[in-house]
Symmetry: C2
Subunit: 312 residues, 2 copies
Amino acid sequence: MKLAVGIDIGGTITKIGLVSEDGKCIKKTSFRTKEINNFSDYIQELYSSIESITDDPNSICGIGIGAPNASKNGTIETPANLKWEGKLNLVEELKNKVNTEIFLSNDANCAAVGEMMYGNAKDYKDFIVITLGTGLGSGIVSNGMLIEGFDGFAAELGHYSINNMGRLTGLGVQGGLEAYVSATGIKRTIMYMLSRYMNDSIFRGISFNDLHGEDITKAAENNDFIAIKTFEYTGKIFGEALANFVSFTQPEAIILTGGLVHSGKWILEPTKKSFEQNLLPFYRGKVKLLTSGLEDKDSAILGSAALVWKNI
Amino acid sequence: MKLAVGIDIGGTITKIGLVSEDGKCIKKTSFRTKEINNFSDYIQELYSSIESITDDPNSICGIGIGAPNASKNGTIETPANLKWEGKLNLVEELKNKVNTEIFLSNDANCAAVGEMMYGNAKDYKDFIVITLGTGLGSGIVSNGMLIEGFDGFAAELGHYSINNMGRLTGLGVQGGLEAYVSATGIKRTIMYMLSRYMNDSIFRGISFNDLHGEDITKAAENNDFIAIKTFEYTGKIFGEALANFVSFTQPEAIILTGGLVHSGKWILEPTKKSFEQNLLPFYRGKVKLLTSGLEDKDSAILGSAALVWKNI
């Protein structure tokens, strides 16, 4: 059986899995990214993890890695969510330890390749994947090819500005989409709605720091006015942005994945409504809005491993 | 010598040229699109024009056509700027008259292919061309391939909304970019500035209908406050939008072409300034803002002919 290793480097946790060509995660492990101060120690920990799930690291078909701020050249550049600074030679340093092909891409690009190989984008050559986590990530596939851009930093749609007077993102972009549509964004909107309305709400007694996405869904189910307004507002902005994205690459489908999607109809219905309302006439009825076809818990590993199958 | 025919279908004029592989327009002709009521008469006129500039229409390598609202399937769909309605089978009907390969694409896509073959995009695999005419058109090339989208309607960046409270475009898009950045958009901004300020201006005595783009450049050169404010405002919005576009496909270059570019420093300087200010940190210094490398008068014909050389 042909096997690849998929690695997802997150700010908090690094996940490593052994994946078959048909997209089964056979073995997996993880460790806390945050606890490792030194990048060469991190590479060593990565290698030990690969060893722990493979009989022989050199026998696998390849390693696929998804990471924030990954470039085309095997490096990670000044990642905001990782503690190591500067340009990190991830692929080169790992190659010194294991003799197999290594592919690196942005984590949201991996999600797109994963959906194309194993998920809900199997039938599409033109689609966009939006990952909704702490921030908002995206991967764009056009003509069946991942759009990576000049040096690998294409598809940074979380930083796309919806309004030059709007909220600031972590990178200082005014009106950047992820300041509205993401786990953090929706918490900010709860605060905004608390400022805007005087209605009773469970959120009058919860601080920003204590607020979690699931609470907002539960509150909406309990008919909390602030929670319902928050989802409507988020969906309206999200739908407008997605309609705008269509005018770039005219995807046949947009696939949503990540935590916020678990809010189900509360986020999806207003998003869909606003999306359809804002689509240009010649796009109407041609673009499907879907949720991920991959199981959340392994999707990042599968997506990274898919880089291997796509490239070898 | 290998020759192709390039055709540019505009709302007012249709241009037809005989083009060599190295991008010389050897012979050309044109006729008024507007004056032909019937689409089959139009096809006949097109064929007569092709005959008039070629010794034998069947001896040419192919015909490339740039047209508004061109689909991937050889049709033009409900074009706003043409008088014929519904889905027009342009390629099929022309093929009944001339036995050669025929390629059809959006006019701005042709401009992008033209820049790639003969113009300032020769060295780039990732770039965007923006055509500034009555409206704003665009062509996006990524990984060396034109992004056409699911059925050919990608890259409609004139309709990309910069602000959901903004001006309406002809298609009813609120805040659509071409309502600001185009020959029409800049005239609208003159009106806006006349509403906003009370300063003297040559434009206090000129109606919207009598206003022409060249007048605004001349007025700026004569230190007209309203004209200068108009260019500043247009450039600021344009630069913000272009910076946003970079977060999609991370082009190595953005190439500007069309009438508004003739305003030179008046439009280019504020655009460049705003563009640089709004670029995300990891894009800074990596994206060139250029003007077209093709001579304006033949650029549409060259771009359409380039479709042939690119595809055969």
